[in-house]
Symmetry: C3
Subunit: 197 residues, 3 copies
């Protein structure tokens, strides 16, 4: 009899040790019959959306005065877009004599016409040759470039849907260079959104 | 004596079982006197902000050339705004010959004047009748529409505060249609922010 | 012998109590040899990004017609920017006859030239004195102000990187006042991003 009692004590102690050291295993065994009867809700970790930010600087190909379609260049530099179910891409050009915009992505005539139209809106000189601007030390094309930059804007914000930019069929990302001499421009790209889980 | 010892052992083992199987209950009883003395901070789960995204496409009522106040139409289509304590609404028009802007929400004369002013800034023809644009296959109003679209912009970003758009008293959301012929336009609306818990 | 057995039992019970009441301490001691051999990944709590929003209204210094560099005024009003590793700042002016932009931050001649250039783009009167606008009850400078506001825009979105605005060397935040009479304007500033942990 004493020997038997000791055996029970050892079993109980081993059992207690198991519970204490592997509580999850014990809980699993303990709740198994119930969990087989009732369907369980998905674990929290899978349903919590993954909010995320990504940011990188992109250096554009050097260009002189003109309007350039840069959609492919931008999308290629940002493979991260694919990871976002829903979000926004902010493209911010870090200069004051060029601009970013969205416009027609097919006919290059539209881009040439745009550059010319902006020259008419912010001309370098008056028709009669009178000086238009106080600020002229950096060249006759500099102050008009600042005006065009203010009119068009330094940044665009584009929605992301299902891992792609949600632009319309005919919309492309435009980089507008307003200085005559070639310039190399930098864009800060900021992606934010809800990632695929 | 041996019998008494056995009783104590059983009580201790039952007690241990209870601790092991219901640790939360045990912790509650164990810390009850202290928690009654000290006020407890709210549990972490309640204070964690709920970050969220919502996105949907809105089809605007078909319109020909003109400036239109669409605040009510947009807000009605986005009841989700009410759920956000703080956030941003991005409205992105998926076309290149119309635009979105914010401007005066009262006098319709302002909207008529705006359309006329943009016609002066990006005219269809020169005063002397000389062709202004290379791109003219889609009509004389198409290239001016692209220019106006670049000047005004394809999107607006509006702050959300306490479940409402934080626009000023006289600010409304404008849809500017630059084509003469009626067009049906699509907006991608992206809401993001911190929801009410 | 019986006495010895009892001693062992007491040690085992104390040990069990310790495990049950201080499971974290026990786990630490238990896994110490392994954790000394294998380098551990950082605990989950530290690696989860802290997503955050901050929003406040800023009242700009009262100004009459002109272009004003307000970078210092804005940054001083938003010390929260320092807390964000990556993010975006949205500045939204709650009025329709002024604007926000980004432009040259050095030469004040650029700002004077900008105001004059916008007067040429959206003039108060035609050269021949013909009335240009239907909407004139609030003064000859009001409708041109609405046009300039639509052209420049009511808001800017600026990337945040490592606790600072990621603007280019020559970029500053501009407030453009289009009304002749001094006005006090309000900006809704919305910061969002991933905070330092």
């Amino acid at each position: 009899m004493p020997q038997q009692t000791s055996d029970i004590k050892i079993i109980v102690l081993v059992f207690l040790f198991m519970i204490t050291l592997f509580p999850n295993l014990f809980h699993y065994i303990w709740t198994l019959p119930l969990s087989l009867i009732f369907s369980r809700s998905p674990p929290l970790a899978d349903s919590t959306p993954i909010m995320s930010w990504a940011q990188k600087q992109i250096t554009l190909q050097e260009q002189s005065r003109g309007s350039y379609l840069v959609t492919d260049e931008i999308v290629k530099a940002l493979p991260e877009i694919r990871n976002y179910k829903v979000g926004l891409l902010n493209l911010f050009i870090q200069h004051t004599s060029c601009a970013l915009s969205l416009n027609e992505n097919w006919d290059e005539d539209v881009r040439a016409d745009m550059s010319d139209a902006l020259d008419r809106i912010a001309p370098e000189y008056l028709v009669k040759g009178k000086e238009l601007y106080r600020h002229s030390a950096e060249g006759a094309d500099d102050m008009p470039a600042h005006i065009k930059s203010a009119l068009i804007g330094a940044s665009v914000t584009i929605p992301i849907q299902n891992g792609k930019l949600a632009t319309g069929t005919w919309q492309g990302i435009w980089y507008l260079e307003f200085r005559a001499r070639p310039h190399q421009r930098k864009i800060m790209a900021t992606i934010q959104g809800e990632k695929y889980t």
